[in-house]
Symmetry: D2
Subunit: 250 residues, 4 copies
Amino acid sequence: MRVTIYNEYLHEVEAESVRRVYPDGIHAELRSAVLEHAPGAEVRVATLREPEHGLTQEVVDATDVMLWWGHKAHAEVADAVAERVQRAVLGGMGLVVLHSGHYSKPFTRLMGTHGSLKWREADEKERLWSLQPSHPILAGVPDSFELEQEEMYGERFDVPDPDELLMISWFQGGEVFRSLMTWRRGHGRVVYFRPGHETYPTYRNPHVRRIVANAAAYAAARFRRDESRSPETPALEPVPNPGKEHVLKP
Amino acid sequence: MRVTIYNEYLHEVEAESVRRVYPDGIHAELRSAVLEHAPGAEVRVATLREPEHGLTQEVVDATDVMLWWGHKAHAEVADAVAERVQRAVLGGMGLVVLHSGHYSKPFTRLMGTHGSLKWREADEKERLWSLQPSHPILAGVPDSFELEQEEMYGERFDVPDPDELLMISWFQGGEVFRSLMTWRRGHGRVVYFRPGHETYPTYRNPHVRRIVANAAAYAAARFRRDESRSPETPALEPVPNPGKEHVLKP
Amino acid sequence: MRVTIYNEYLHEVEAESVRRVYPDGIHAELRSAVLEHAPGAEVRVATLREPEHGLTQEVVDATDVMLWWGHKAHAEVADAVAERVQRAVLGGMGLVVLHSGHYSKPFTRLMGTHGSLKWREADEKERLWSLQPSHPILAGVPDSFELEQEEMYGERFDVPDPDELLMISWFQGGEVFRSLMTWRRGHGRVVYFRPGHETYPTYRNPHVRRIVANAAAYAAARFRRDESRSPETPALEPVPNPGKEHVLKP
Amino acid sequence: MRVTIYNEYLHEVEAESVRRVYPDGIHAELRSAVLEHAPGAEVRVATLREPEHGLTQEVVDATDVMLWWGHKAHAEVADAVAERVQRAVLGGMGLVVLHSGHYSKPFTRLMGTHGSLKWREADEKERLWSLQPSHPILAGVPDSFELEQEEMYGERFDVPDPDELLMISWFQGGEVFRSLMTWRRGHGRVVYFRPGHETYPTYRNPHVRRIVANAAAYAAARFRRDESRSPETPALEPVPNPGKEHVLKP
């Protein structure tokens, strides 16, 4: 499994409060989570400030599943790179979108919706409930678990109905949220997993780590095929006018 | 019900073979289909060559459901207009995408996929089978019906799994296609209906007309609300740190 | 709209604590809720202790939508009546299952699952969140509302993934629950709506009443057709051996 | 992977025309299909005329995935055995229902619907089209393939909307059918795969064999847990009346 972790990597550089939590960057914690549960994985890291954000065509082509963490600089991601990631998913690559990635360009392009939600940062408790304990992403995860402090995300989360709804969060302040969902898009699989605010040590929680690693394995491409074109195809059974002249599709 | 019919309106102007079939434009036949089954509807027509393709913000705001027929000039639709239509759907407007609209900008933006498929123009027979005769879009429509000549569209149609799969087509040349589907996106409803190639009199078929009109009524907005923003919200129950300082979401 | 309300009608007869809340029976409150929002509806009531529980074939055939409230005596409902209700739904009748009806025979037969869940009665607060404010069942209902005291139902609720997930509940004690869902089965529509424990005045809450009435209207049959048989059908196109001898399907 | 193949095993015994095609029984061909692609599988066979149809509680408990082929004697399957299989699926066991099993007791109980369809036996051609070539059940299977002669099954197939629609069939006589579908029920996975009429050598087709084996592997249990009961659960957060007296759920 070839994993590429995209991390915006600005908060950890700019804010002491975040650096204290993730001294080596959020990507370092995500990488260790993946390797803890999938020791043979090849993990690469890409960050916003690199050329093409580290996501050249070559890198994307060599990626089975991409993890995406971004927050304050979604707008700085080049449209061409966002489109490249979208096309890779349609061609079979997996994409695991984390927390504030609900507003990232690849995610909103793949969903077709705003991705909006309610939110609040108040050091409150989140409890996640499993709806499908037999699902591979929840293998080894208890039926519920708590995060002592997290940012709150509340419904209505503006996304299409998922193919699979796997967890729902309860928040101390009174809200609920669909926290773990999957969608098939083209030949690829998209997973959204809610927790992971930069000011809390969420990615050191063992259950969160397990879910991140399981999600990567679940979404990883088994298959790559570009299907952006609409081929004209000969008939398999007799038709009245097989050689008819006509306008070609773009 | 306020209906806006968008028709590219190029084939009928440029090609004698199409003008013979739709002398007043495809939009005229669609309008008469809607009015036949919803006599009280207000129907407006918009075409590609008008300023903003006839789809100004004012027109879109005053539309409950939009029908979209386009084929050879999808690329000429301005991105700003495509985004306007997409946002209107997310805010509650209905969108009924017809035939070659599978490649239109509003549809592919809302789906997040390529919208590709197999195709062939050979004057062949299409037979459509109903999967949900009790669905409002299929009210008054028999369990199956035939179109003597149509363009063939074949699977794999690259779209997200629909919320509702209502009809499947059988083609004489050996293919099958999911021909009538719906998806909820944001507060709006998208319907895709396959038949309607410009060189055949498909929109004069009584069953097709009924489906077009039913689809418009089904998708028409009951509700309009912009939900593009993610509001910060106060807690409804006590939380540890309600006044915490933090970075604002865009 | 012809509505039949099935109420077990035992708690109200046997327990003073329940009679205080629903002196005329839960069915009386449900009837008034339906009539408040659909004044022209014909509403009939059926209870467990009547012959055939008041649900003769004649009554079921004359019902567009049935509401079902039962709790302690699911096992006393005759299998023949449960099957009659199931078949009516498959033929197009609507069924709105309320609260403890998650364990009723018609519901579990239609779902194919146990319908199990976590529960607790502790006078705690429930807050329901809307996921689809544009859905007809949620017309006139705010984006969230509270019930000061209710029984808790918690996930995992053992039901098939719904066609539509409309509300999620937050409970004071820490759980979440998918509280308003719909499933199409055959030609009919099933709605499940969670609140409604017999010791609380839930069915006098205006939002709950609105949802009950909206759900009845949404699920009400537009269509009735028995499709229990598998007809042998002649080919529509030439086939090699149209008169072949063979074993008949039961 | 522990596989149990249930075969009714009457046609092969009673009819020379079937014995010629499947001299060792349909189960023998299914077993060889599974072992061809999953050499390490433990495969057991059960038939109708054995005590408890060979499906004792012990056998079911030791089964990760069950294949089900039945046709003319669905009614002879004991209700207790059908319920045992249903409960096993809800607890995590996989179930792959083949061809005429659309009318079997375990399948209709799990679906909650009639399972009816149109049919015809006329030695006609079937062509199956893949909708999700990246799905594990379709690994190694081409985008479409033909069966020269098969029984026809046509829509409307009376089943709940599937979680995954993987293949659609085209029939020479003019019908279409959703031929490969999956549903999650409880902790288990149900797969339906259409082809396999007893008078044709369908289970010797390499693509059909591959799909049968892939489906078994896909549906095989990762997990077994009985969740038929609804546990009363203590609150995780403070509630007003934790020790309240109340009626117990059955």
